[in-house]
Protein backbone atom coordinates (compact mmCIF):
# COMPACT_ATOMS: atom_id res chain seq x y z
CA UNK A 1 0.00 0.00 0.00
CA UNK A 2 1.25 3.48 -0.69
CA UNK A 3 2.69 5.42 2.20
CA UNK A 4 4.56 2.50 3.71
CA UNK A 5 8.15 1.81 2.69
CA UNK A 6 8.37 -1.88 3.18
CA UNK A 7 11.07 -3.88 1.50
CA UNK A 8 9.06 -6.91 0.67
CA UNK A 9 7.84 -8.96 -2.23
CA UNK A 10 4.16 -9.16 -2.79
CA UNK A 11 3.81 -12.75 -1.65
CA UNK A 12 6.37 -13.12 1.12
CA UNK A 13 5.73 -14.05 4.72
CA UNK A 14 6.96 -10.74 6.01
CA UNK A 15 4.32 -9.00 3.94
CA UNK A 16 1.69 -11.31 5.31
CA UNK A 17 2.74 -10.74 8.89
CA UNK A 18 2.93 -6.99 8.45
CA UNK A 19 -0.53 -6.93 6.98
CA UNK A 20 -2.12 -8.45 10.07
CA UNK A 21 -3.97 -5.64 11.70
CA UNK A 22 -2.52 -4.38 15.01
CA UNK A 23 -6.04 -4.67 16.40
CA UNK A 24 -5.75 -8.42 15.98
CA UNK A 25 -2.47 -8.54 17.81
CA UNK A 26 -3.83 -6.44 20.67
CA UNK A 27 -6.94 -8.49 21.02
CA UNK A 28 -5.02 -11.75 21.06
CA UNK A 29 -2.61 -10.30 23.59
CA UNK A 30 -5.38 -9.37 25.94
CA UNK A 31 -6.99 -12.79 25.48
CA UNK A 32 -3.74 -14.54 26.34
CA UNK A 33 -3.21 -12.29 29.33
CA UNK A 34 -6.41 -13.30 31.00
CA UNK A 35 -6.91 -16.74 29.51
CA UNK A 36 -3.53 -18.28 30.23
CA UNK A 37 -3.32 -16.66 33.67
CA UNK A 38 -6.59 -18.23 34.64
CA UNK A 39 -5.37 -21.56 33.24
CA UNK A 40 -2.34 -21.35 35.52
CA UNK A 41 -4.41 -20.39 38.52
CA UNK A 42 -6.92 -23.19 37.97
CA UNK A 43 -4.18 -25.75 37.44
CA UNK A 44 -2.54 -24.71 40.69
CA UNK A 45 -5.77 -24.75 42.63
CA UNK A 46 -6.73 -28.26 41.58
CA UNK A 47 -3.26 -29.61 42.34
CA UNK A 48 -3.28 -28.21 45.83
CA UNK A 49 -6.97 -28.71 46.47
CA UNK A 50 -7.10 -32.44 45.81
CA UNK A 51 -4.19 -33.13 48.18
CA UNK A 52 -5.63 -30.80 50.78
CA UNK A 53 -9.00 -32.55 50.79
CA UNK A 54 -7.48 -36.00 51.12
CA UNK A 55 -5.05 -35.00 53.83
CA UNK A 56 -7.69 -33.18 55.84
CA UNK A 57 -9.61 -36.41 56.43
CA UNK A 58 -7.03 -37.68 58.86
CA UNK A 59 -5.80 -34.28 60.04
CA UNK A 60 -8.70 -31.79 60.01
CA UNK A 61 -6.65 -29.08 61.65
CA UNK A 62 -4.77 -28.31 58.44
CA UNK A 63 -7.73 -27.00 56.47
CA UNK A 64 -7.84 -23.36 57.57
CA UNK A 65 -4.11 -22.71 57.40
CA UNK A 66 -3.63 -24.39 54.05
CA UNK A 67 -6.21 -22.26 52.33
CA UNK A 68 -3.36 -19.79 51.99
CA UNK A 69 -1.96 -21.94 49.19
CA UNK A 70 -5.27 -21.70 47.35
CA UNK A 71 -5.30 -17.92 47.90
CA UNK A 72 -1.82 -17.58 46.42
CA UNK A 73 -2.99 -19.43 43.31
CA UNK A 74 -6.06 -17.25 43.09
CA UNK A 75 -3.89 -14.14 43.26
CA UNK A 76 -2.30 -15.27 40.03
CA UNK A 77 -5.66 -15.09 38.27
CA UNK A 78 -6.25 -11.64 39.72
CA UNK A 79 -2.95 -10.44 38.27
CA UNK A 80 -4.16 -11.61 34.89
CA UNK A 81 -7.45 -9.71 35.25
CA UNK A 82 -5.70 -6.50 36.31
CA UNK A 83 -3.26 -6.60 33.42
CA UNK A 84 -6.03 -7.38 30.94
CA UNK A 85 -7.96 -4.34 32.15
CA UNK A 86 -4.88 -2.11 31.92
CA UNK A 87 -4.14 -3.34 28.42
CA UNK A 88 -7.71 -2.85 27.37
CA UNK A 89 -7.64 0.80 28.40
CA UNK A 90 -4.67 1.30 26.10
CA UNK A 91 -6.66 0.26 23.08
CA UNK A 92 -7.45 3.22 20.86
CA UNK A 93 -9.05 3.46 17.47
CA UNK A 94 -6.95 4.95 14.68
CA UNK A 95 -8.04 6.30 11.32
CA UNK A 96 -7.68 3.71 8.60
CA UNK A 97 -4.82 5.52 6.91
CA UNK A 98 -2.79 5.14 10.09
CA UNK A 99 -3.45 1.44 10.73
CA UNK A 100 -0.17 0.27 9.29
CA UNK A 101 1.87 3.20 10.48
CA UNK A 102 4.89 2.32 12.56
CA UNK A 103 3.45 3.61 15.81
CA UNK A 104 0.26 1.66 15.38
CA UNK A 105 2.12 -1.53 14.67
CA UNK A 106 4.35 -0.87 17.65
CA UNK A 107 1.37 -0.39 19.93
CA UNK A 108 -0.26 -3.56 18.65
CA UNK A 109 2.88 -5.61 19.15
CA UNK A 110 3.42 -4.09 22.60
CA UNK A 111 0.02 -5.17 23.78
CA UNK A 112 0.50 -8.64 22.28
CA UNK A 113 3.86 -9.05 23.98
CA UNK A 114 2.49 -7.83 27.28
CA UNK A 115 -0.25 -10.40 27.06
CA UNK A 116 2.24 -13.19 26.44
CA UNK A 117 4.53 -12.00 29.23
CA UNK A 118 1.91 -11.88 31.90
CA UNK A 119 0.02 -14.95 30.66
CA UNK A 120 2.93 -17.33 30.70
CA UNK A 121 4.51 -15.88 33.82
CA UNK A 122 1.26 -16.49 35.63
CA UNK A 123 0.89 -19.96 34.11
CA UNK A 124 4.17 -21.20 35.56
CA UNK A 125 3.64 -19.28 38.78
CA UNK A 126 0.26 -20.91 39.31
CA UNK A 127 1.73 -24.36 38.62
CA UNK A 128 4.63 -23.73 40.97
CA UNK A 129 2.48 -22.52 43.83
CA UNK A 130 0.05 -25.37 43.31
CA UNK A 131 2.65 -28.09 43.49
CA UNK A 132 4.30 -26.57 46.54
CA UNK A 133 0.89 -26.12 48.15
CA UNK A 134 0.14 -29.80 47.66
CA UNK A 135 3.38 -30.83 49.35
CA UNK A 136 2.74 -28.25 52.06
CA UNK A 137 -0.64 -29.75 52.89
CA UNK A 138 0.74 -33.28 53.07
CA UNK A 139 3.71 -32.25 55.22
CA UNK A 140 1.57 -30.17 57.52
CA UNK A 141 -0.70 -33.17 58.09
CA UNK A 142 2.28 -35.19 59.32
CA UNK A 143 4.18 -32.52 61.23
CA UNK A 144 2.70 -29.11 61.89
CA UNK A 145 6.01 -27.35 62.43
CA UNK A 146 6.77 -27.70 58.72
CA UNK A 147 3.94 -25.49 57.54
CA UNK A 148 5.56 -22.10 57.96
CA UNK A 149 8.84 -23.24 56.46
CA UNK A 150 7.22 -24.52 53.30
CA UNK A 151 5.07 -21.42 53.12
CA UNK A 152 8.27 -19.37 52.71
CA UNK A 153 9.07 -21.41 49.59
CA UNK A 154 5.59 -20.75 48.32
CA UNK A 155 5.96 -17.01 48.81
CA UNK A 156 9.09 -17.03 46.67
CA UNK A 157 7.15 -18.96 44.06
CA UNK A 158 4.31 -16.50 43.97
CA UNK A 159 6.75 -13.67 43.34
CA UNK A 160 7.19 -15.04 39.81
CA UNK A 161 3.74 -13.88 38.76
CA UNK A 162 4.41 -10.51 40.27
CA UNK A 163 7.53 -10.11 38.11
CA UNK A 164 5.41 -10.55 35.01
CA UNK A 165 2.94 -7.91 36.14
CA UNK A 166 5.69 -5.43 36.99
CA UNK A 167 7.39 -5.81 33.64
CA UNK A 168 4.12 -5.40 31.79
CA UNK A 169 3.06 -2.30 33.70
CA UNK A 170 6.35 -0.60 33.01
CA UNK A 171 6.41 -1.76 29.41
CA UNK A 172 2.93 -0.56 28.66
CA UNK A 173 3.54 2.83 30.23
CA UNK A 174 6.80 3.57 28.45
CA UNK A 175 5.91 1.94 25.14
CA UNK A 176 2.52 3.42 24.61
CA UNK A 177 2.94 6.98 25.91
CA UNK A 178 4.43 7.95 22.58
CA UNK A 179 1.25 6.93 20.86
CA UNK A 180 -1.29 9.49 21.93
CA UNK A 181 -4.65 9.44 20.20
CA UNK A 182 -4.83 11.72 17.22
CA UNK A 183 -8.42 11.06 16.35
Amino acid sequence: MAGTSMVAYSSSWSTALLKISPYTFSAIGIAIAIGVSVLGAAWGIYITGSSLIGAAIKAPRITSKNLISVIFCEAVAIYGVIVAIILQTKLESVPSSQIYAAESLRAGYAIFASGIIVGFANLVCGLCVGIIGSSCALSDAQNSSLFVKILVIEIFGSALGLFGVIVVTMYVETCLELFSPES
Binding site: I47, S50, I53, K58, I131, S134, A141
Partner: protein
Amino acid sequence: MYGFEAMTFNIHGGYLEAIVRGHRAGLLTAADYNNLCQCETLDDIKMHLSATEYGPYLQNEPSPLHTTTIVEKCTLKLVDEYKHMLCQATEPLSTFLEYITYGHMIDNVVLIVTGTLHERDVQELLEKCHPLGMFDSIATLAVAQNMRELYRLVLVDTPLAPYFSECITSEDLDDMNIEIMRNTLYKAYLEDFYKFCQKLGGATAEIMSDLLSFEADRRAVNITINSIGTELTRDDRRKLYSNFGLLYPYGHEELAVCEDIDQVRSAMEKYPPYQSIFSKLSYGESQMLDKAFYEEEVKRLCLAFEQQFHYGVFFAYMRLREQEIRNLMWISECVAQNQKSRVHDSVVFIF
Protein backbone atom coordinates in the same frame (compact mmCIF):
# COMPACT_ATOMS: atom_id res chain seq x y z
CA MET B 1 8.06 -37.90 31.21
CA TYR B 2 10.02 -38.31 34.38
CA GLY B 3 10.04 -35.19 36.49
CA PHE B 4 6.77 -33.72 35.28
CA GLU B 5 4.35 -36.03 37.05
CA ALA B 6 3.57 -33.23 39.45
CA MET B 7 1.58 -31.44 36.78
CA THR B 8 -0.99 -34.13 36.10
CA PHE B 9 -0.79 -36.75 38.84
CA ASN B 10 -3.25 -35.03 41.13
CA ILE B 11 -6.08 -35.19 38.62
CA HIS B 12 -6.74 -38.84 39.39
CA GLY B 13 -4.36 -39.75 42.16
CA GLY B 14 -4.07 -36.67 44.38
CA TYR B 15 -6.90 -37.48 46.75
CA LEU B 16 -5.93 -41.11 47.24
CA GLU B 17 -2.27 -40.29 47.70
CA ALA B 18 -3.20 -37.84 50.46
CA ILE B 19 -5.40 -40.50 52.08
CA VAL B 20 -2.70 -43.14 52.01
CA ARG B 21 -0.24 -40.72 53.55
CA GLY B 22 -2.77 -40.05 56.29
CA HIS B 23 -3.01 -43.79 56.92
CA ARG B 24 0.76 -44.00 57.09
CA ALA B 25 0.73 -41.50 59.92
CA GLY B 26 -1.28 -44.05 61.88
CA LEU B 27 1.34 -46.81 61.77
CA LEU B 28 2.58 -47.85 65.18
CA THR B 29 5.77 -46.18 66.34
CA ALA B 30 8.67 -47.45 68.41
CA ALA B 31 7.04 -46.02 71.54
CA ASP B 32 3.89 -48.05 70.86
CA TYR B 33 5.92 -51.19 70.34
CA ASN B 34 7.79 -50.61 73.58
CA ASN B 35 4.50 -50.33 75.42
CA LEU B 36 3.20 -53.46 73.78
CA CYS B 37 6.34 -55.44 74.51
CA GLN B 38 5.90 -54.75 78.18
CA CYS B 39 2.37 -56.13 78.36
CA GLU B 40 1.71 -59.10 80.55
CA THR B 41 -1.49 -60.44 79.06
CA LEU B 42 -3.42 -60.21 75.84
CA ASP B 43 -5.93 -57.92 77.51
CA ASP B 44 -3.15 -55.43 78.16
CA ILE B 45 -2.32 -55.58 74.49
CA LYS B 46 -5.93 -54.91 73.62
CA MET B 47 -5.96 -51.94 75.97
CA HIS B 48 -2.85 -50.44 74.41
CA LEU B 49 -4.13 -51.02 70.92
CA SER B 50 -7.42 -49.34 71.71
CA ALA B 51 -5.53 -46.07 72.05
CA THR B 52 -4.20 -46.46 68.50
CA GLU B 53 -6.15 -46.63 65.27
CA TYR B 54 -7.02 -50.26 65.92
CA GLY B 55 -9.34 -49.21 68.72
CA PRO B 56 -12.68 -49.47 66.95
CA TYR B 57 -11.84 -52.91 65.61
CA LEU B 58 -10.85 -54.50 68.89
CA GLN B 59 -13.15 -52.91 71.38
CA ASN B 60 -16.02 -55.33 70.88
CA GLU B 61 -14.03 -58.46 71.33
CA PRO B 62 -14.89 -60.40 74.46
CA SER B 63 -12.16 -61.63 76.75
CA PRO B 64 -10.49 -64.07 76.76
CA LEU B 65 -8.76 -62.98 73.57
CA HIS B 66 -6.85 -65.23 71.27
CA THR B 67 -3.86 -64.11 69.26
CA THR B 68 -5.64 -65.13 66.08
CA THR B 69 -8.50 -62.75 66.91
CA ILE B 70 -6.14 -59.82 67.31
CA VAL B 71 -4.44 -60.59 64.02
CA GLU B 72 -7.76 -61.10 62.29
CA LYS B 73 -9.15 -57.75 63.41
CA CYS B 74 -6.00 -55.90 62.48
CA THR B 75 -6.05 -57.51 59.06
CA LEU B 76 -9.70 -56.49 58.76
CA LYS B 77 -8.69 -52.88 59.26
CA LEU B 78 -6.15 -53.18 56.45
CA VAL B 79 -8.75 -54.76 54.17
CA ASP B 80 -11.26 -51.98 54.88
CA GLU B 81 -8.71 -49.31 54.03
CA TYR B 82 -7.70 -51.16 50.89
CA LYS B 83 -11.27 -51.56 49.70
CA HIS B 84 -11.99 -47.90 50.31
CA MET B 85 -8.99 -46.91 48.22
CA LEU B 86 -9.80 -49.43 45.50
CA CYS B 87 -13.34 -48.18 45.02
CA GLN B 88 -12.15 -44.58 44.75
CA ALA B 89 -9.36 -45.36 42.27
CA THR B 90 -9.44 -44.97 38.50
CA GLU B 91 -7.22 -46.64 35.94
CA PRO B 92 -4.30 -47.20 36.08
CA LEU B 93 -4.23 -46.89 39.83
CA SER B 94 -7.00 -49.46 40.27
CA THR B 95 -5.03 -52.04 38.31
CA PHE B 96 -1.96 -51.22 40.36
CA LEU B 97 -3.88 -51.73 43.61
CA GLU B 98 -5.22 -55.05 42.36
CA TYR B 99 -1.72 -56.21 41.48
CA ILE B 100 -0.73 -55.74 45.09
CA THR B 101 -3.16 -58.45 46.18
CA TYR B 102 -2.25 -61.15 43.68
CA GLY B 103 0.52 -62.37 45.96
CA HIS B 104 -2.09 -63.09 48.62
CA MET B 105 -4.26 -64.83 46.05
CA ILE B 106 -1.41 -67.15 45.20
CA ASP B 107 -0.87 -67.91 48.88
CA ASN B 108 -4.57 -68.65 49.36
CA VAL B 109 -4.65 -71.00 46.37
CA VAL B 110 -1.66 -72.92 47.67
CA LEU B 111 -3.14 -73.01 51.18
CA ILE B 112 -6.36 -74.57 50.02
CA VAL B 113 -4.73 -77.07 47.70
CA THR B 114 -2.27 -78.19 50.39
CA GLY B 115 -5.00 -78.39 52.97
CA THR B 116 -7.14 -80.52 50.72
CA LEU B 117 -4.21 -82.79 50.11
CA HIS B 118 -3.93 -83.31 53.85
CA GLU B 119 -7.65 -83.98 54.14
CA ARG B 120 -8.66 -80.83 55.91
CA ASP B 121 -12.15 -79.40 55.84
CA VAL B 122 -12.72 -76.74 53.19
CA GLN B 123 -14.55 -74.35 55.52
CA GLU B 124 -11.71 -74.43 57.99
CA LEU B 125 -9.25 -73.64 55.25
CA LEU B 126 -11.35 -70.79 53.90
CA GLU B 127 -11.28 -69.16 57.29
CA LYS B 128 -7.51 -69.24 57.28
CA CYS B 129 -7.21 -67.55 53.91
CA HIS B 130 -5.98 -64.00 53.74
CA PRO B 131 -8.97 -61.71 53.08
CA LEU B 132 -7.12 -59.59 50.55
CA GLY B 133 -6.62 -62.58 48.32
CA MET B 134 -10.14 -63.90 48.18
CA PHE B 135 -11.96 -64.38 44.93
CA ASP B 136 -15.21 -66.06 43.96
CA SER B 137 -15.06 -69.76 43.39
CA ILE B 138 -12.09 -70.17 45.67
CA ALA B 139 -13.87 -72.98 47.43
CA THR B 140 -13.93 -75.01 44.23
CA LEU B 141 -10.18 -75.45 44.51
CA ALA B 142 -10.76 -78.29 46.91
CA VAL B 143 -12.18 -80.42 44.14
CA ALA B 144 -9.20 -80.40 41.78
CA GLN B 145 -7.00 -83.49 41.48
CA ASN B 146 -4.17 -82.23 39.35
CA MET B 147 -2.93 -78.96 38.02
CA ARG B 148 -4.71 -79.14 34.73
CA GLU B 149 -8.03 -79.49 36.48
CA LEU B 150 -7.06 -76.74 38.89
CA TYR B 151 -6.58 -74.43 35.98
CA ARG B 152 -9.58 -75.49 33.99
CA LEU B 153 -12.07 -75.46 36.83
CA VAL B 154 -11.11 -72.44 38.83
CA LEU B 155 -8.12 -70.41 37.89
CA VAL B 156 -8.94 -69.59 34.31
CA ASP B 157 -11.43 -66.99 35.51
CA THR B 158 -9.14 -65.32 37.99
CA PRO B 159 -6.42 -62.73 37.38
CA LEU B 160 -3.89 -65.50 38.01
CA ALA B 161 -4.73 -67.23 34.73
CA PRO B 162 -1.84 -65.83 32.67
CA TYR B 163 0.67 -66.96 35.26
CA PHE B 164 -0.24 -70.58 34.81
CA SER B 165 1.19 -71.24 31.40
CA GLU B 166 4.47 -72.50 32.83
CA CYS B 167 2.76 -74.64 35.42
CA ILE B 168 0.23 -76.76 33.68
CA THR B 169 1.27 -80.34 33.81
CA SER B 170 -0.78 -83.41 34.38
CA GLU B 171 1.20 -84.35 37.39
CA ASP B 172 -0.66 -85.02 40.56
CA LEU B 173 -0.49 -82.50 43.30
CA ASP B 174 1.90 -83.41 46.05
CA ASP B 175 3.85 -81.30 48.47
CA MET B 176 6.90 -80.84 46.33
CA ASN B 177 5.00 -79.94 43.22
CA ILE B 178 2.81 -77.52 45.12
CA GLU B 179 5.81 -75.62 46.38
CA ILE B 180 7.21 -75.50 42.89
CA MET B 181 3.84 -74.31 41.64
CA ARG B 182 3.73 -71.58 44.27
CA ASN B 183 7.16 -70.32 43.35
CA THR B 184 6.52 -70.48 39.63
CA LEU B 185 3.30 -68.53 40.02
CA TYR B 186 4.99 -65.95 42.19
CA LYS B 187 7.81 -65.59 39.70
CA ALA B 188 5.34 -64.96 36.87
CA TYR B 189 3.43 -62.50 39.06
CA LEU B 190 6.53 -60.51 39.96
CA GLU B 191 7.63 -60.30 36.35
CA ASP B 192 4.19 -59.21 35.26
CA PHE B 193 3.99 -56.56 37.98
CA TYR B 194 7.46 -55.34 37.03
CA LYS B 195 6.48 -54.99 33.39
CA PHE B 196 3.32 -53.17 34.36
CA CYS B 197 5.24 -50.67 36.45
CA GLN B 198 7.76 -50.14 33.67
CA LYS B 199 4.88 -49.37 31.36
CA LEU B 200 3.57 -46.75 33.79
CA GLY B 201 6.92 -45.01 33.59
CA GLY B 202 8.19 -42.03 35.55
CA ALA B 203 8.75 -42.08 39.27
CA THR B 204 6.43 -45.06 39.73
CA ALA B 205 8.60 -47.21 37.47
CA GLU B 206 11.80 -46.20 39.18
CA ILE B 207 10.63 -46.68 42.75
CA MET B 208 8.66 -49.85 42.12
CA SER B 209 11.48 -51.44 40.17
CA ASP B 210 13.74 -50.96 43.17
CA LEU B 211 11.19 -52.46 45.57
CA LEU B 212 10.30 -55.35 43.28
CA SER B 213 13.95 -56.14 42.54
CA PHE B 214 14.60 -56.46 46.23
CA GLU B 215 11.60 -58.76 46.52
CA ALA B 216 12.80 -60.91 43.63
CA ASP B 217 16.31 -61.14 45.06
CA ARG B 218 15.02 -62.00 48.50
CA ARG B 219 12.89 -64.78 47.08
CA ALA B 220 15.84 -66.09 45.12
CA VAL B 221 17.91 -66.32 48.30
CA ASN B 222 15.08 -67.95 50.23
CA ILE B 223 14.44 -70.48 47.48
CA THR B 224 18.12 -71.33 47.42
CA ILE B 225 18.40 -71.77 51.16
CA ASN B 226 15.18 -73.76 51.44
CA SER B 227 16.08 -76.10 48.61
CA ILE B 228 19.52 -76.98 49.91
CA GLY B 229 19.49 -80.67 50.59
CA THR B 230 16.19 -81.39 48.82
CA GLU B 231 15.64 -83.14 45.53
CA LEU B 232 15.28 -79.94 43.59
CA THR B 233 17.78 -79.99 40.76
CA ARG B 234 19.89 -77.03 39.84
CA ASP B 235 18.02 -76.43 36.64
CA ASP B 236 14.68 -76.52 38.41
CA ARG B 237 16.03 -74.10 40.96
CA ARG B 238 17.23 -71.75 38.28
CA LYS B 239 13.81 -71.81 36.65
CA LEU B 240 12.27 -70.41 39.82
CA TYR B 241 14.38 -67.26 39.86
CA SER B 242 12.80 -64.12 38.36
CA ASN B 243 14.45 -62.57 35.36
CA PHE B 244 14.99 -59.13 36.78
CA GLY B 245 16.66 -57.69 39.84
CA LEU B 246 20.14 -57.01 41.01
CA LEU B 247 21.09 -60.66 41.00
CA TYR B 248 19.98 -61.30 37.45
CA PRO B 249 21.73 -63.00 35.64
CA TYR B 250 25.13 -63.59 37.18
CA GLY B 251 24.03 -63.86 40.79
CA HIS B 252 21.48 -66.45 39.79
CA GLU B 253 24.21 -68.52 38.14
CA GLU B 254 26.12 -68.55 41.39
CA LEU B 255 23.12 -69.17 43.59
CA ALA B 256 21.96 -72.08 41.45
CA VAL B 257 25.04 -74.10 42.32
CA CYS B 258 25.14 -73.34 46.04
CA GLU B 259 25.02 -76.30 48.35
CA ASP B 260 25.22 -74.65 51.75
CA ILE B 261 24.70 -71.35 53.46
CA ASP B 262 28.29 -70.25 53.38
CA GLN B 263 28.36 -70.55 49.62
CA VAL B 264 25.20 -68.47 49.49
CA ARG B 265 26.85 -65.89 51.67
CA SER B 266 29.94 -65.70 49.49
CA ALA B 267 27.77 -65.37 46.39
CA MET B 268 25.76 -62.53 47.92
CA GLU B 269 28.66 -60.62 49.33
CA LYS B 270 29.63 -59.44 45.91
CA TYR B 271 26.59 -57.16 45.88
CA PRO B 272 26.97 -54.18 48.25
CA PRO B 273 23.33 -53.84 49.32
CA TYR B 274 23.17 -57.50 50.31
CA GLN B 275 26.63 -57.59 51.72
CA SER B 276 25.50 -55.32 54.54
CA ILE B 277 22.63 -57.72 55.29
CA PHE B 278 24.81 -60.79 55.40
CA SER B 279 27.48 -59.11 57.45
CA LYS B 280 25.04 -58.90 60.32
CA LEU B 281 24.93 -62.67 60.55
CA SER B 282 27.70 -64.71 62.00
CA TYR B 283 28.87 -67.75 60.13
CA GLY B 284 26.55 -70.68 59.88
CA GLU B 285 23.53 -68.84 61.25
CA SER B 286 20.44 -68.38 59.15
CA GLN B 287 17.64 -67.72 61.62
CA MET B 288 18.30 -64.01 61.75
CA LEU B 289 18.34 -63.79 57.96
CA ASP B 290 14.57 -63.33 57.80
CA LYS B 291 14.66 -60.49 60.25
CA ALA B 292 17.58 -58.85 58.45
CA PHE B 293 15.69 -59.02 55.17
CA TYR B 294 12.56 -57.58 56.77
CA GLU B 295 14.57 -54.70 58.20
CA GLU B 296 16.07 -53.90 54.84
CA GLU B 297 12.66 -54.09 53.21
CA VAL B 298 11.13 -51.73 55.77
CA LYS B 299 13.95 -49.27 55.22
CA ARG B 300 13.32 -49.22 51.48
CA LEU B 301 9.56 -49.01 51.89
CA CYS B 302 9.89 -45.97 54.15
CA LEU B 303 12.07 -44.31 51.53
CA ALA B 304 9.26 -44.64 49.00
CA PHE B 305 7.32 -42.03 50.96
CA GLU B 306 10.01 -39.44 50.44
CA GLN B 307 8.79 -38.66 46.94
CA GLN B 308 5.40 -37.38 45.94
CA PHE B 309 3.23 -38.05 42.86
CA HIS B 310 3.83 -41.75 42.29
CA TYR B 311 2.03 -45.01 43.02
CA GLY B 312 4.82 -46.59 45.03
CA VAL B 313 3.38 -45.14 48.22
CA PHE B 314 0.35 -47.44 47.96
CA PHE B 315 2.49 -50.54 47.63
CA ALA B 316 4.78 -49.36 50.42
CA TYR B 317 1.86 -48.67 52.75
CA MET B 318 0.31 -52.11 52.23
CA ARG B 319 3.63 -53.81 52.87
CA LEU B 320 4.33 -51.74 55.98
CA ARG B 321 0.92 -52.58 57.38
CA GLU B 322 1.54 -56.27 56.76
CA GLN B 323 4.85 -55.96 58.57
CA GLU B 324 3.07 -54.28 61.45
CA ILE B 325 0.53 -57.10 61.61
CA ARG B 326 3.40 -59.60 61.66
CA ASN B 327 4.93 -57.65 64.53
CA LEU B 328 1.67 -57.67 66.45
CA MET B 329 1.28 -61.37 65.88
CA TRP B 330 4.77 -62.08 67.18
CA ILE B 331 4.28 -59.88 70.24
CA SER B 332 0.90 -61.45 70.99
CA GLU B 333 2.32 -64.95 70.66
CA CYS B 334 5.25 -64.15 72.91
CA VAL B 335 2.97 -62.65 75.51
CA ALA B 336 0.49 -65.49 75.30
CA GLN B 337 3.19 -68.12 75.69
CA ASN B 338 5.06 -66.20 78.35
CA GLN B 339 8.25 -65.93 76.36
CA LYS B 340 8.73 -62.20 76.60
CA SER B 341 12.48 -62.47 76.44
CA ARG B 342 12.19 -63.47 72.80
CA VAL B 343 9.98 -60.60 71.84
CA HIS B 344 12.72 -58.57 70.25
CA ASP B 345 13.89 -61.44 68.10
CA SER B 346 11.45 -60.72 65.40
CA VAL B 347 9.90 -57.31 65.80
CA VAL B 348 10.96 -54.84 63.14
CA PHE B 349 10.39 -51.25 64.13
CA ILE B 350 9.01 -49.18 61.33
CA PHE B 351 9.73 -45.74 62.71
